[in-house]
Amino acid sequence: MTATKDTPVPAGATPPAPAHVGAARKRGSGWFSERLMPYLLILPALAAVLVLLGWPTVQMLGISLRQLDLRELVTGKMVWIGFKNYTDVLSDPEFWAVALRTVLFTGALVAGTLLVALLIAVLMRHLNPVLRIFVQVSLVLAWAVPVIATTTVFQWIFDQQYGILNKTLDRLGFHSFIGYSWFSTGTSTLVVIGLLVLWQAVPFVAFTLYAGLIGVPREQYEAAGIDGAGPWQTFRAVSWPAIRPILTMVTFLSMLWDFNMFAQVWAIRQGGPDGASTTLAIMQYLKGIAGSHFGSAAAIATIMLVLLLLVTGRYVQLLVRTKDGEIA
């Protein structure tokens, strides 16, 4: 990787601007540009992340140590209360039950999403173009439909009395589903929410994995074919290594999205019945945002952040390490 030649930019080529700067300097001082170019390239992204995400996050940490209700927000008064927001949350026995539920729910969702998405991605590769576009459009539709519409439609489909699902099950001979309530317990409510999330999350993951699959140069498959490998062996030998980094990535992303997910859980039953489908994000809203207690909201958010770091921590390590390969 270090054995770069100092070849000039071909005439007529218009490379991206910062890269061009790097390449031009390279002629003068190879060592300098090699050192500086990466920093120049990441600078815009670094600045944006630090200012637009980093700073608000630091502020959130600060807010979590304050009492910040509507009054303080309007008057701009700083009321520091130490760790009271944290002790309030952590001393609530309900918190731990909710935290456990959130972790389990997230785990199940992520596993389900990945499995279904991987199957669909492989399927897309093997479909003829017409059917593939059909599948792709159906996926994009599922993904593009606004959340307010999706959550409502799911509620209707699962409606106790007039939902198309119960009516269809009845027609198919399962008469016990007449008037069956899908939202009477926390578990079955979470199952419906899970289906809703799966439906919305699978398209993105499937597309990403599919893009990873077709990014594999065709000759690698041809080579495997010549070697007489079967479909499963080809998948193991060619596809799997190609998509593994991407799979690691989408696993991580799914984990944090599902863990922080709010809109879908809220829309279905506001975390009910009897709080049995409440996740941490719902708790953060109920205890913090709903009553304009932004200090509590920030504290719960910080706890969620720490929990999420714990859950994904090994994963973050793995991500950074596997990507680095030979770099220790």
Binding site: M1, T4, T7, P8, P10, P15, P16, G22, A23, R35, P38, Y39, L41, L46, A48, V49, L53, P56, Q59, M60, L68, I120, L123, L127, L131, V135, L139, V140, L141, A144, V145, I148, A149, T152, F154, W156, I157, Y162, I164, I214, G215, P217, R218, G225, I246, M249, N260, F262, A281, I289, F294, A297, L305, L308, L309, V316, L319, V320, K323, D324
Partner: protein, 276 residues
């Protein structure tokens, strides 16, 4: 790879099943948009709509401000997607192709930056926008959508660049391309599918965002489509047929966007045949 006829038929059947399963809720949204309020949920068995009216679409489209909201949404969404892609590709290259001090730290930052729940950041972000005087302007939303999709974009593109064998670039460089030229001619075309999925993702996320749009934009004339969508609800009633009709209209730009970039998926695939 050649497949036997039964295998192809099986694969096709599976494809159709998957497509139908994913289409169903969308289909249900669509048929509901054709129903009168009394038929939205009724005892009738209406898997196939028994009657249809276009009045919901008429009332949705004639709701004041639709074109303004649509324009605003397109500006902030496309702006954020483009900005994130450009900045994202720039950052993904050195991450995948260079070794430099602080690289690991930057990677960690990109990962951790995505962990914080956005709902908790809306107060600090609001204060930030207030203090730099951007409230009630479209750039404030554009910036937020750009910022929230950027870590994701960087990380995804980094993954995609990494997934493209470096041998290909090296081969091109041996053939006389510069490092930049090699990247542009070999890796960038192969990156096509990655750019597409990433941009579709950023597009849809920004396209659907409600809370920041609601809170940042004071004037109705600066609102975006998700806010418009919620205007079908009043204190005592919700026009569900209208919501569904509006949702159908609303999903169309996202689908068009996909259909435009979708061709890239195919061309990215053929570009895979580039010889080193």
């Amino acid at each position: 790879m050649r497949k036997s006829l039964p295998a192809r038929v099986l694969v096709s059947i599976a494809g159709v099943l998957v497509a139908l399963l994913f289409l169903f809720p969308t289909y249900w949204m669509f048929t509901t948009s054709l129903k009168t309020p009394g038929d939205v949920l009724s005892p009738k068995y209406d898997l196939i709509p028994t009657s249809a009216t276009l009045s919901n679409f008429a009332s949705a489209l004639t709701k004041p401000g639709f074109v303004t909201y649509l324009t605003n949404s397109l500006i902030v969404t496309l702006g954020a997607v483009l900005a994130a892609l450009v900045v994202g590709v720039l950052a993904a290259i050195p991450l995948a192709r260079f070794r430099f001090r602080g690289r690991k730290g930057f990677l960690l930052l990109i990962l951790v930056a995505q962990l914080a729940p956005l709902s908790a950041l809306f107060i600090p972000m609001y204060l930030l926008m207030r203090d730099i005087g951007l409230l009630n302007t479209l750039p404030s939303l554009l910036l937020v959508y750009f910022a929230t999709s950027l870590p994701f974009t960087v990380w995804m593109l980094y993954g995609f660049v990494n997934g493209i064998p470096y041998d290909l670039e090296e081969a091109a460089m041996i053939d006389g391309c510069s490092r930049v030229g090699a990247f542009r001619r070999v890796t960038l075309p192969l990156l096509g599918p990655g750019l597409v999925t990433t941009s579709v993702f950023s597009f849809i996320t920004a396209w659907n965002e409600f809370l920041f749009a609601l809170v940042f934009m004071r004037d109705q004339s600066k609102q975006t489509l998700p806010v418009w969508l919620s205007s079908f609800k009043t204190a005592f009633s919700i026009d569900w047929g209208g919501v569904m009709a509006a949702s159908v209209i609303y999903a169309i730009p996202a689908v068009i966007f996909f259909l435009i970039v979708q061709r890239k998926l195919v061309s990215g695939m053929t570009a895979g045949a580039v010889k080193g």
